[in-house]
Symmetry: C2
Subunit: 406 residues, 2 copies
Amino acid sequence: MIKEGGMMLKYEDAKDIILNCFNEVKAKSINVIKSFNYVLAEDIVTIRDYPDTKKSAVDGFAIKGLDRNSYRIVNTFSPGMQVDINLGKGEAVFVMTGAVVPENADAVVRVEDCVIDGDIVTINCNLTNGMNINNIGEEVGINQHVVTKGVLINERIFPILCYLGLKEVKVYEKPKVGIFTTGNEILELGEDYRKGFVYNTNRYIAECFLKKLEIPYEYYGNIIDDENSVFNAFAEMTEKYDIIISSGGISMGKYDFVKKVLNDKKFDIVVNKTKIKPGSPLLVARNNNCMIFGMPGYPAAFFTNFVLYLLPFIKKACGFRDFENKIVDVILKDYMHSRKSSDYFNRATIKYENGNFLAYGVGSQKTSHFINFAKVNGFVRIKEGVGDLKAGDKCEGLIFNFESIL
Amino acid sequence: MIKEGGMMLKYEDAKDIILNCFNEVKAKSINVIKSFNYVLAEDIVTIRDYPDTKKSAVDGFAIKGLDRNSYRIVNTFSPGMQVDINLGKGEAVFVMTGAVVPENADAVVRVEDCVIDGDIVTINCNLTNGMNINNIGEEVGINQHVVTKGVLINERIFPILCYLGLKEVKVYEKPKVGIFTTGNEILELGEDYRKGFVYNTNRYIAECFLKKLEIPYEYYGNIIDDENSVFNAFAEMTEKYDIIISSGGISMGKYDFVKKVLNDKKFDIVVNKTKIKPGSPLLVARNNNCMIFGMPGYPAAFFTNFVLYLLPFIKKACGFRDFENKIVDVILKDYMHSRKSSDYFNRATIKYENGNFLAYGVGSQKTSHFINFAKVNGFVRIKEGVGDLKAGDKCEGLIFNFESIL
């Protein structure tokens, strides 16, 4: 058995320690077209006026002079045409929506308000100066701040970068992640089942979250319970990755080689156990610029620790300004058990209904159970010292899957 | 100019017509490992008991007989070991967490409650039958329903499929999407800027949403404003894609060839304009099994129509049971303009604060403006006949980006 040193950390303390381990995030310039799902590393500022010419807001006639109701049509302009004429007084050009309007035009009249007879257009409405013209810089002028750095270039931001006509954009580099699992009892997906074994699940919990964030990762394999194999895995991986995620091997048993290796080989132990349930045995270590997350082996514990500690760390490592998990006040719809000795993060389905976030239980909270995570989109946090809660009680809810709250 | 026929449809009517155009979604069996981000086309039912053997919940000693406090240690079992022994009365084996427990063991005693002396273990706690043993089927028994079809195989569901040890899973096939844009004024990303032109934005709005859903798409190019080119594009694409998204060319101008081609060439016009702002000119047509979305050219109108009509249609085409946009009651924080003649979908930042969803204005609502979409995560819907609303008024909010509500 391994000797245990140090104090069990509280959830917030452990999270803060982990987040503070963080090294500076590097930025790089990339082609805008490749920037989707990166985090912006610079504020976006307009590089010209939008629009940068007068443009027509409608299909109609751009006219010069507001003192008459008949004009001579001298041309037709569609969007994308290079327009370089001055209208004479009493002249009109047909302009389509979005087309450039001659600089000295006084107004554009909607085609619906016009009667055309040969090259003469007669206007049937009141004229006001500048009507139906989108002026230079009307949307946003040059050198104006548009987006603040630290946000994900998602389906809202990416099209803006395109619209602005940027070619390059500064983004934060993404961390490189290596994953391995441990345990002689682990079967790989697709392998034939053997009684008493369990299928590799933690690998895929990690991979799913990393895929969602489009973070490059490699799976190093399932390492058998052998000290040298675990040592070699760490030795190779700390050279290659910014973040290592391992699963299992961090209890006090004689086969818990992840713990043994991280303790013996002079890694810098940052967190050794946290006072939460499920998944207290979390072991976080550092080796130069590589952060190592020794995660518990039960999938429920792995998943919970992933959301609580790894997700904010990874988001910070990606450059997110807003990297913390989101907390809401929830009202319990079901009884929830906890012991006063730890922070309990009970799995739950959190729904927004009739103006409140409601937290429904999903059955078992046993660490050895996992199947009911199919229904879980968040955790109910019952803080140390609180004890059991009943339906109707209020507490904190942590949501990790927002699309499912409605 | 093109002659206009038929009635402008209301938002809900147009949406229902579009959603009802939908052909049956085909399902296919795929390897579980490839199923991430597909939609489940079958209910998931357990194929064995979980666990399927008695397992230890702790590191400790599995014992036979509860009538004594000393036992003879006969073996050590780690997880993954094939265990096939019966304990004799008074015998114990050391079992690690998750290891198989001999079938006739009566209890497992935590190692913390044991004193070991040679091959004798002495117990320092009360013994109860079955303690610290996870029984067969305790989590979920065989043939139990676990997940209902029609849900996205996301970071919650995928690991469950792994955990269950499934090899193949039935998923819905994804639609194949073709995109083209129109307009002589369109510059492609990275092209040098030319005064009066605009950068292709709508292509990327579509691509971002499709990427998020991992839907295969091809971009067919920007088609110049020429009837034959547009006709040829449609002719080729209707053969290849389930959904075609085009941008621009659907107004009544003489260069609006998308409208001309879809009207003249005997496509089945499903929706011709909807009574919304921004982006009323939406034109939806059908050709055999291909749905064609002729989208408006202004990015604000394109984006709004994409969220209102295309997103639910695409999700339905992917097999989502829950494909509609999510609506919440919002309280306006800012004045919002609307005319009584249409449903207004005003861009907004929707935030959950102090127990309410609040909708903040983002400045201009002009269809020709787009840059403020950087702040937009939803729309405030002001229904036909309502008119302007002021801060404090309540109305409907449609959220399309949930991560940003907190």
